[in-house]
């Protein structure tokens, strides 16, 4: 076999391998983010999770009760952060 053909086949196989093992970020994922500012609470009141700002439905002008509910991000118990391009709750101990 021609040496050049061998090199081309190996290169193709390498490319196929790389494409196989590399999983690009899914920008259609509602949790996708590039920074903390891309993330907002998923619920309007007493939120327990976070979501990408682009995926949050319009939720302006909502009134919430003002107690510090357990296991929520109320009263600074947690905040939204971007970790590995995904919005997550950064819970405070």
């Amino acid at each position: 076999m021609d040496r050049a053909v061998v090199i081309a086949v190996v290169a193709m196989m390498g490319l196929v391998f790389v494409m196989y093992v590399y999983e690009p970020a899914d920008i259609s994922d509602p949790l996708f983010c590039n920074s903390d500012s891309d993330c907002v609470p998923a619920q309007d009141c007493h939120p327990t999770s976070c979501i990408g700002l682009g995926s949050k439905t319009v939720s302006d002008g909502v009134f919430c009760t003002t107690e510090c509910a357990p296991d929520t991000m109320d009263c600074g118990q947690g905040s939204c952060a971007c970790v590995s391009n995904r919005c997550e709750v950064n819970w405070r101990e």
């Binding site: 009141c45 949050k56 909502v62 009134f63 009760t65 510090c68």
Partner: protein, 841 residues
């Protein structure tokens, strides 16, 4: 050992533990209640190894020792309600007196407690704001619990079935009305989450727990579901319902433990004006309008932990915003300059969904504390018949509060103190408006002791006592202040001022003052170099003299006195007795004033008129040089340079008759052609009081114009020098006496007079008289008008002098011969001394 001894020993063995087990402690309240009632509820603690069993007829208490007896108590005497095994070994029971006696006798019973009734009063927060103290107060015979007031709770609804929330719904229950706005298809406003019930319990629970206003009614405005999120339209509907039904239910407070969010985060406002204009769906405006209609609207500040702003609608300008503190008054959650009040909001125990209680935190919990407090203040206002605004209620809470400083926002907030605020509403506000501090020493006048007296209703009377049993009304004027209408003698007064309102709620303020007596000026005496006088107010003294005044001042309070002496308004001394030197410029009338002041600025004065006389006369301080004048030529001679006035008086000149003298001291005269000769001029200067005179000579020379016009005077008559009065002495006699430079003054006279030792050269013919003038001119600059030689005792100088005179004469002859040939000059030398000298020689 016989059988009897064994029996006794056994009895002792059993008797000792029996005696020990009888050491039983029983709460005193058990016997107290049995004295009133047939039964008492007790908690019985058994010995560790004892147990209890119950059957239909009796209660049996036994221990593990088979030898001990069982205690059996009839069911008629005891009824067990609870049995305990883990927390303690025992039971709770209702017992009769007989049953108690059996328990006392039981060796298996360790302790009997009285079953106390416990009321959970929001364990920490109600006493933290002193609400429990207010519940013990009455006004006009009514407990201050918020009774008659209604609080509208805009929230998740209210668990009105809770035994601390009235156990029912509708008029006659605590929750008198409500509406499910969140889900109108289900009219029942029952709380399906717990938040609204918790809030309602804090504001007005009455049962196992006691809220801030346990007598207040509640309205359940359900605008939230279990998710605890809602829209502006539903909140608005809740506010609207409360305002519309305010009159029917006497709704005086709306409480909203809610806050606006945007994308899950609270919307924070740092100014009320910005908040009022924010597009929040109208909730803030509706809240402001409700407050302006006499409803206090309390709203949660929010929980984001912001230190510069608060949420909405709490930020509204008429809304009472509420932040949260823990039981140590440490702030949590949102705060900022526009935050109105603080209240407990951390781990507050309150009613919940079932018939239970939970602890919750957040500004949601702080807000109903303020709502309940407002309800009680509205109740007080209603009982007093007063009309107050929501702003007045908020201000009462804000200004009668515990002040809490927060370092993170660098601001001091008001944490509500309901007892303080309630007292502010109940009692007249009597405030001292003067500048004195309590205990001050003053010189009294009526305007010093003034008070303002205000009340939410009307002030009836303001009066005071001065430490005795006597009371005196105070008077008022258009200023609205109240004044003491009396002057009091010096002394110490412990004053109490009172004010009452229409319900005769009396406020009092104590105020201690010391009325200080003013200093008193007694006798005085003044002295100068020539006079002494006692108690005279007119003083005569010459300038350049010293005045002393000794004055007696007393002060019965022994205050430290300050003194001030002024002359014509200028301070000259600050000690009690005066010693003052009037200088040479002091003449005239002087106003002398003495002011003495005590420690409280009470002063007394004494004044004098001091007439200071002119004392220093002007003086001629140099001899006026003699001078010449020409006939028919205006002659002027200024003498002002030779006179002085130490006290800078204006000097007045006068001069011998025939002469004129100006105000500036210039003497003038025009001598006639026949006035040649020597004149003595006397000039006098005066300061208006003291004159001083001096003289000088003026030698009037014959002039050529007078000679050619046939002047018939004797010309060159050198012995004509004594012409007192100034006019020329026209006789030709030899006076042989010339007086020059005679100075006289009131205190000094100087005279230089020569007679025998004066030698006069004369030309004694008519021609010679003419020649004399020529001779004078011929001397060319020597300007001799006469030669006077006064040798005195120095005769040895006579010969040389005569020789010199002759030499001068010969020199004149020589010149004359050169100019006018043929003329002869005759000189006559006459002098006794010269002759004696000549003959001796």
């Amino acid at each position: 050992m016989n059988r009897i001894s064994i029996l006794i020993a056994l009895l002792l063995v059993f008797a000792i533990p029996l005696a020990v087990s009888n050491d039983l402690r029983i709460d005193g309240e058990v016997f107290d209640e049995l004295a009133q009632e047939d039964t008492v509820d007790v908690i019985v603690v058994l010995e560790d190894d004892a147990s209890v069993s119950v059957d239909d007829t009796a209660v049996e208490i036994r221990d593990s020792d088979w030898m001990s007896r069982d205690d059996r108590i009839s069911a008629e005497e005891i009824s067990i309600t609870e049995e305990y095994s883990a927390a303690l070994n025992g039971f709770a029971a209702e017992v009769t007196e007989a049953g108690l006696e059996l328990l006392e006798d039981s060796a298996n019973v360790d302790r009997i407690y009285y079953d106390q009734t416990y009321t959970l009063a929001l364990e920490n927060s109600v006493p933290q704001v002193n609400a429990d103290d207010v519940h013990g107060l009455q006004l006009n015979g009514v407990d201050l619990t918020g009774a008659g007031q209604t609080i509208c709770v805009i929230d998740t609804g209210i668990n009105y079935n809770h035994n601390s929330l009235g156990s029912g719904f509708g008029v006659g229950y605590k929750v008198i009305s409500g509406e499910n706005i969140y889900n109108s298809s289900v009219p029942d406003p029952l709380d399906d989450h717990g938040h609204g019930s918790h809030v309602a319990g804090i504001a007005a629970a009455s049962g196992d727990i006691t809220g801030i206003a346990p007598g207040a009614n509640l309205i359940a405005m359900k605008v939230f579901g279990a998710t605890r999120s809602t829209t502006a339209s539903k909140v608005l509907a809740g506010i609207d319902w409360c305002v519309n039904n305010a009159t029917e239910f006497n709704i005086s407070v709306i409480t909203m433990s809610l806050s606006l969010t945007s994308y899950g985060d609270e919307v924070i406002f740092t100014s009320s004006s910005t908040c009022d204009n924010y597009g929040d769906g109208g909730v803030v405006n509706a809240s402001n309008n409700a407050a302006s209609q006499g409803i206090l609207v309390s709203a949660a500040a929010g929980n984001d932990g912001n230190t510069t702003g608060i949420g909405s609608p709490a930020c509204g300008s008429n809304v009472t915003s509420v932040g949260a503190v823990n039981n140590a008054d440490t702030l949590s959650y949102n705060r900022g300059p526009i935050l109105d009040l603080l209240a407990p909001g951390v781990l507050v125990n309150s009613t919940y969904t079932s018939d239970d209680y939970v602890q919750m935190s957040g500004t949601s919990m702080a807000t109903p504390h303020v709502a309940g407090a407002a309800a009680i203040l509205w109740q007080i206002a209603d009982l007093e018949g007063a009309t107050v605004t929501a702003q007045q209620v908020e201000n009462a809470l804000k200004e009668n509060a515990e002040r809490v400083y927060d370092a993170s926002s660098n601001f001091t907030y008001s944490r509500i103190d309901l007892l303080s605020a309630a007292n502010f509403f109940i009692y007249p506000n009597l405030t001292y408006t003067g500048a004195l501090v309590d205990g001050a020493s003053v010189g009294l006048n009526t305007t010093i002791l003034s008070f303002s007296a205000t009340d939410i209703s009307e002030i009836d009377t303001v009066w005071y006592s001065n430490g005795t049993d006597d009371f005196f009304d105070m008077y008022t004027n258009t200023s609205g202040l109240y004044y003491v209408d009396a002057y009091w003698p010096a002394g110490e007064y412990n004053l109490t001022f009172y004010a009452n309102d229409s319900l005769n709620n009396v406020a009092n303020v104590t105020f201690n003052i010391v009325i200080s007596s003013a200093p008193v000026i007694g006798d005085w005496a003044w002295y100068n170099s020539t006079a002494t006088s006692v108690n005279a107010t007119t003083i005569l003294i010459d300038e350049n003299n010293s005045l002393s005044i000794l004055i007696n001042v007393t002060d019965s309070d022994s205050d430290t006195l300050t003194y001030n002496w002024t002359i014509d308004g200028v301070t000259v001394s600050t000690i009690q007795d005066l010693s003052y030197d009037f200088d040479v410029n002091s003449q005239g009338n002087r106003a002398l004033l003495f002011v003495v002041m005590d420690e409280v600025n009470q002063s007394v004065t004494q004044s004098w008129t001091v007439t200071v006389g002119d004392h220093v006369a002007p003086r001629w301080n140099a001899t006026i040089p003699d001078t010449d004048a020409d006939e028919e030529v205006a002659w002027e001679y200024n003498v002002s340079d030779y006179v002085s006035s130490l006290d800078n008086d204006t000097l007045i000149y006068s001069v011998s008759s025939g002469y004129s003298i100006s105000s500036s001291g210039t003497i003038s005269r025009t001598f006639d052609c026949d006035d040649d000769g020597e004149y003595t001029v006397t000039v006098t200067v005066s300061d208006g009081i003291n004159p001083a005179s001096t003289t000088f000579s003026v030698d009037v020379q014959d002039t050529e114009s007078c000679s050619s016009s046939g002047d018939d005077d004797e010309g060159g008559d050198f012995d004509d020098g004594q012409q007192s009065g100034g006019m020329g002495d026209t006789d030709d006699t030899d006076d042989n006496t010339t007086t020059t430079n005679t100075t006289t003054a009131s205190d000094t006279t100087t005279s230089n007079t020569s007679t025998e030792e004066t030698y006069t050269l004369t030309n004694d013919t008519a021609d010679e008289a003419e020649e004399g003038g020529v001779f004078s001119r011929g001397l060319s600059g020597a300007t001799f008008s006469g030669l006077n030689f006064d040798f005195g005792e120095n005769e040895q100088y006579v010969a040389p002098s005569v020789a010199m005179a002759i030499a001068f004469c010969l020199y004149g002859v020589y010149h004359r011969s050169n100019s006018r040939k043929g003329k002869k000059v005759k000189f006559e030398i006459s002098s006794a001394s010269f002759k004696r000298y000549w003959h001796r020689r």
